[in-house]
């Protein structure tokens, strides 16, 4: 019973969107049991200018490039912190944890000025820079915890075998950290995919919008007529990639979230 309630609460709103997205607009104001089905909302979205998949692609590009960049910066940092003394690392970590919880929406004005000064606006790859900065705290906390879990004897043995720092990282440490790296990557990707205020202010060209600002633009585009069929189709298309991601990587996402909380 409780389980059913939880499923209904979680999925109900999404199922209603799915249902609405296949209904002709004219039937939405009538009896929900009557009227036919239609694909017109999906056709309109995918045939639009720019077509809706463009936003998904843009979000994917920003998400992937930011995730990669964050890992490249965070792995050495986490390694360094994990080899510091407990006390120093703890002090640094408190600051990193504060940054992880920081309501980053407050940063948008300063970051926007940065984009103006350095001409980084309307550039998907440049958008990865603030995203990397914002994702770093969580990545550092997660990866550092995982570095600490590796017995130091293992690295010591590899060193005695004559492996240099980079070789040790590449062949000994990173393979052991694959689960933590997967968790961190997924959480970073989710964050970048969903990020709104910075994408909103850094991107203005319609064909470069990522999903979140594109949705807001769709929402604001029609103040007087209310094309809810189209809205619903957009929410369905915008949700599918993430639903797939969560279904496939559920375990890694959950462990990332909980590890971040326990160790952070």
């Amino acid at each position: 019973m409780n389980r059913l309630l939880l499923i209904l609460w979680s999925l109900g709103p999404m199922l209603w969107q799915l249902y609405t997205s296949f209904r002709p607009n004219a039937t939405l104001t009538g009896n929900p049991m009557q009227g036919g089905w239609t694909l017109e909302h999906y056709q309109a979205l995918l045939g639009g200018n720019p077509p809706f998949w463009r936003y998904l692609l843009n979000s994917g590009v920003v998400g992937l490039s930011s995730t990669l960049l964050t890992l490249v910066v965070a792995v050495p940092c986490a390694y360094g912190l994990s080899r510091l003394g407990r006390k120093t690392a703890r002090n640094v970590n408190v600051l990193v944890a504060i940054a992880a919880a920081f309501p980053y929406v407050l940063l948008f004005l300063a970051l926007l000025q940065l984009a103006r000064d350095l001409h980084l606006g309307n550039n998907l790859l440049a958008l990865s820079l603030p995203y990397t900065g914002l994702s770093l705290p969580l990545a550092i906390l997660l990866l550092q915890a995982s570095f600490r879990d590796i017995p130091p004897e293992l690295e010591e043995a590899a060193r005695l075998e004559g492996l240099g720092l980079w070789q040790r990282l590449r062949w000994v440490l990173l393979p052991l950290m694959a689960p933590a790296i997967a968790s961190a990557s997924l959480l970073i990707f989710l964050f970048c995919w969903n990020e709104y205020p910075i994408a909103l202010t850094w991107l203005s060209r319609a064909d470069l919008l990522t999903l979140a600002p594109a949705m807001a633009r769709i929402a604001g585009s029609s103040v007087f007529t209310v094309p809810y069929g189209g809205f619903a189709a957009a929410t369905v298309l915008g949700s599918i990639p993430l639903i797939v991601l969560v279904l496939v990587f559920q375990r890694q996402i959950v462990s990332g979230l909980t590890q971040g909380a326990i160790k952070g």
């Binding site: 389980r3 939880l6 910066v73 919880a101 709104y196 999903l211 929402a219 915008g238």
Partner: protein
Amino acid sequence: MAPALLLLLAVFALPMLQYAWLSTQAQTVLTELEPQPVGLAQWQRLLQDGRFWQDAFQTLRFGLCSVGLELVLGLAVALLLNQPLRGRTLLRTVSLLPWALPTTVMALGWRWIFNDPFGPINLLLAQVGLPTVSFLGDPAITWLSMVWADTWKTTPFVALLLLAGLQTIPADLYEAAALEGANRWQSLRRITLPLLSPYILIAVLFRLAQALGVFDLVQVLTAGGPAGSTESLALYAYINAMRFLDFGYSATLMLAAFLLMLLLSGGAVLLWLVSRPRWAGGQR
């Protein structure tokens, strides 16, 4: 290590310093967008700005209500998921979905669900003969709709954190309590909540900071309306910067919002520290 820490400083610390400076400047269309020092005039203006106080109140109201509700529901979900149920993994995945979706996507969805009179909730109400509710058009109600939508989205996050905490509590504590004749409510109060309190604190700190910075949800669900009754501090700061091009005041508003968050987070930590010895009661 150095590049990462430098980037962190550039993204988090530098903007706050910039705001501190900008909040002593006037930078508007009138100054041709060039900063001009005005001392503390922006802060005086803030104190006399009725819209700021209203938004601060609304932001606080939203933050406290949604975080409180999310804690209660999150704990319920965590307790449910902590039981050895069939299909627990599937249940956990399903309950995680709302959290993973972009806020703007589901905010748009909620606009349709809350529609009066054609949204599903109002259809249901009409079906059983009740009057429909203007979820998005009544200043007394709309902020609650926003709390509802936020709770739907972020309860899974709170539930997962608390679930991780529940799994650290050894089962024999409950067995011992049961032997002593404690009922379920007593063992929840005497064992679960005290041992869970660090996790509750973490969840509160994370959620409070995000909820007080609420922006995406307001902008897409209500755009601050009706009659400004759901406008948040972040949205007001955004409007000042992007619509009024009043950058000095926008920075002042952001700093004020940040100070408010610090104050509340500090309060939460203090509350936890004060209540801990009472709870621990010699157990640890």
